[in-house]
């Protein structure tokens, strides 16, 4: 898998990854090397905000892989994202040790508060980073595998599948709200102190998390690009366009869907795991169906089936969200809805489609006599 060969012909991807590389050099320099008083200084708050956007972008790429290329409109990717986040949150909770409010060396604060005497079985091992990192991909992957195996085998498609994925997210949210589940209930997991021994509040750690998010986005993008460029990628698009035909030429459509859906859920899990240490909290709110829907809107606005369009969409919409919720919080949902309607009407191929529209127009004019 040679990245240069993979990106041949993918101009949007080249530009996107180029800009990402520039940002990954500039942001640390502007934050760490430029003195605080200078107008060029980038605050740590901004670095973290950018890092958060990058994890959203990675999540959007995962959604584009299944929706844009295979036609599965998943409204459950918020759940895979949150599960990855919870796995990371559990690791960070265990790192607090006896520095919590109650000072218990093993039990997180909320368990002491609930009068629990010992750690639930699924919290064991989460104090080891490698184990937690494994869970970050395995838990969302396993859920997607089991769910997908049942749904795709029964040939549930289209709107029905979307509704089922949404129900899955909703059910998980209700479950995670309960204190008895052992994930901190309503409040979720928070008050993190350090990751791999580094202080989470330190500028250097924040910059490292930003860089890790950037690297994960680049790797995730290239991995998805690689799948798309393979024959399996062409089978995926064929499934989107004419599923029955694919079956009659001898492909096991269910298995292709299952493999890609599971892979996509794992990417979403990684995005969630990078998101949590940067925002400092994970709670059941992340599992709300609204999040999953919003995330589909990012991809639609950025442009489906381009991968880099998903990245653009995630960055543009979330930047707009940060700005608008600062100025006029009540208006944000109207802006988002309006943006979605406008893009659907005037830019059916999203922001990424503008470039190809501009390229085609002069050619079309030249063709007419």
């Amino acid at each position: 898998m040679n990245p240069i060969r993979l990106l041949r012909g993918d101009t949007g991807g080249q530009v996107m990854l180029g800009l990402l590389a520039v940002a990954m050099v500039l942001v640390p320099v502007l934050n760490l090397a430029v003195p605080e008083g200078s107008p060029l200084h980038l605050s740590t708050f901004t670095v973290t905000l950018l890092g958060k956007y990058l994890t959203y972008a990675l999540l959007a790429v995962a959604v584009d892989l299944v929706w844009g290329y295979m036609g599965i409109l998943s409204l459950g990717h918020g759940a895979f994202f949150a599960l990855g986040g919870y796995a990371m949150g559990m690791y960070l909770m265990r790192q607090i040790g006896d520095r919590g409010v109650y000072g218990d060396p093993v039990l997180p604060d909320f368990m002491v508060f609930l009068n629990w005497k010992e750690l639930p079985w699924f919290w064991h091992g989460m104090d080891m980073f490698w184990f937690a990192a494994l869970m970050v991909v395995l838990v969302p992957g396993l859920l997607a595998f089991v769910f997908g195996a049942l749904a795709f085998r029964s040939r549930v498609t289209g709107v029905y599948l979307s509704i089922m994925t949404q129900a899955l997210t909703y059910a998980l949210m209700l479950a995670f709200f309960r204190n008895e589940m052992g994930f901190g209930g309503n409040n979720g997991l928070t008050d993190f102190k350090d990751i791999l021994g580094f202080d989470l509040q330190a500028d250097g750690t924040r910059v490292m998390l930003f860089l890790a998010s950037g690297l994960a986005l680049a790797a995730g993008y290239l991995a998805c690009r690689w799948i798309i460029a393979s024959r399996l990628g062409r089978v995926m698009v064929a499934i989107r366009d004419a599923e029955a035909r694919v079956r009659f030429i001898g492909y096991r459509v269910e298995r292709v869907k299952l493999a890609i859906f599971t892979f996509s859920a794992m990417i979403a899990g990684i995005a969630g795991a990078l998101y949590v240490p940067q925002v400092g909290i994970i709670n059941p709110g992340e599992l709300s169906p609204l999040n999953s829907i919003e995330l589909v809107i990012w991809v639609a606005i950025g442009g489906r089936a381009t991968l880099y369009g998903a990245v653009i969409g995630a960055l543009v919409v979330n930047y707009a969200k940060s700005v608008f919720t600062g100025i006029l919080p009540e208006a944000w949902l109207f802006v988002l809805g309006g943006l979605f309607v406008l893009v659907t009407l005037f830019l059916p191929r999203g922001i990424a489609g503008i470039a190809s529209m501009l390229r085609r127009r002069p050619a079309a004019e030249g063709a007419t006599p």
């Binding site: 064929a238 035909r245 493999a259």
Partner: protein, 276 residues
């Protein structure tokens, strides 16, 4: 002594136990000269008998036409052969050994039955070349497909099929940009790439111009012999131009079978179909 003999027989080193063979043995056995056996097949939808005690056999290398009025069960018969519809009763065998009723669509396609739909269905966003590449016979499981690369011989095979279906010049065009007739040919080409033993072709001439129809007839005739071909068609001129044997379906069962002339002179056929 008898028990000892039995034991010796059982322990024979070259002994092959029946349970060691997969139930889904995909080796096609054509030793009896027939490739498809449908026997006593019945299927009903909400009480309507779409197929009623159907018996239908196809010889190896034969080009067979199936005609019949609308609702005679032609497409349902194809659905049963390709695993899309399961019959209520009856048996369906491909060759001597492959029980079609035990397999799903993908397995049936892998076993060597290719199908062309009534409405041309090609992958519109893929180029003509890619359409043929996807249809090509080979390992179609997910992981091998991820790592699949085209060999020189496979490229040649695709070019050969492009030549057969007359789409060499359209090799790199998106399939969605082809004309209706060209899509039909591309779909037949996709069937050929699968190297099927049996081709099921549903209304290949529908919506075609006269020239296109002639080309299609020529194409189908050239396929017979190397493959067994079953064509469902409405257009009588087209059927006459390709068929050696014709089967007439009526109300879900076979009404008559024979050469075009025999069938056309059969009073029962005249009554239900041709005489109208």
């Amino acid at each position: 002594m008898k028990a000892l003999d039995q034991l010796r027989e059982a322990m024979r080193p070259d002994r092959q136990w029946s349970f060691m063979f997969s139930q889904l043995d995909l080796g096609l056995d054509l030793s009896h000269g027939q490739i498809l056996y449908l026997e006593d097949i019945s299927v009903s939808f909400d009480g309507f008998k779409a197929i009623n005690n159907l018996n239908f056999y196809v010889d190896v290398g034969e080009l067979r036409c199936v005609i019949g009025p609308n609702g005679a069960g032609k497409t349902t018969m194809m659905d049963i052969i390709t695993g899309k519809t399961r019959p209520d009763t009856g048996t369906a065998f491909f060759g001597q050994r492959i029980d079609l009723l035990q397999l799903n669509e993908a397995e049936i396609a892998q076993a060597g039955i290719g199908r062309k739909f009534q409405k041309p269905t090609v992958f519109e966003h893929h180029s003509v070349f890619e359409n043929l590449e996807l249809a090509m016979a080979g390992d179609k499981r997910a992981l091998p497909t991820l790592f699949a690369k085209l060999s020189g011989a496979q490229r040649e095979r695709i070019d050969e099929v492009l030549d057969t279906i007359g789409l060499v010049a359209d090799r790199d065009r998106p399939a969605g940009a082809l004309s209706h007739g060209q899509k039909q040919w591309l779909e037949i080409g996709m069937l050929l790439m699968q190297d099927p033993h049996l081709l099921l072709v549903d209304e290949p001439a529908a919506g075609m111009t006269h020239q296109e129809m002639e080309r299609t007839a020529e194409l189908l005739r050239s396929l017979a012999g190397r493959h067994s071909v079953v064509v469902v068609e409405h257009d009588m001129d087209f059927v006459r131009s390709i068929a050696r044997r014709v089967t007439v379906l009526h109300q879900g069962s076979v009404l008559a079978e024979g050469s075009m002339d025999e069938v056309q002179n059969d009073p029962r056929v005249i009554e239900v179909y041709l005489g109208q």
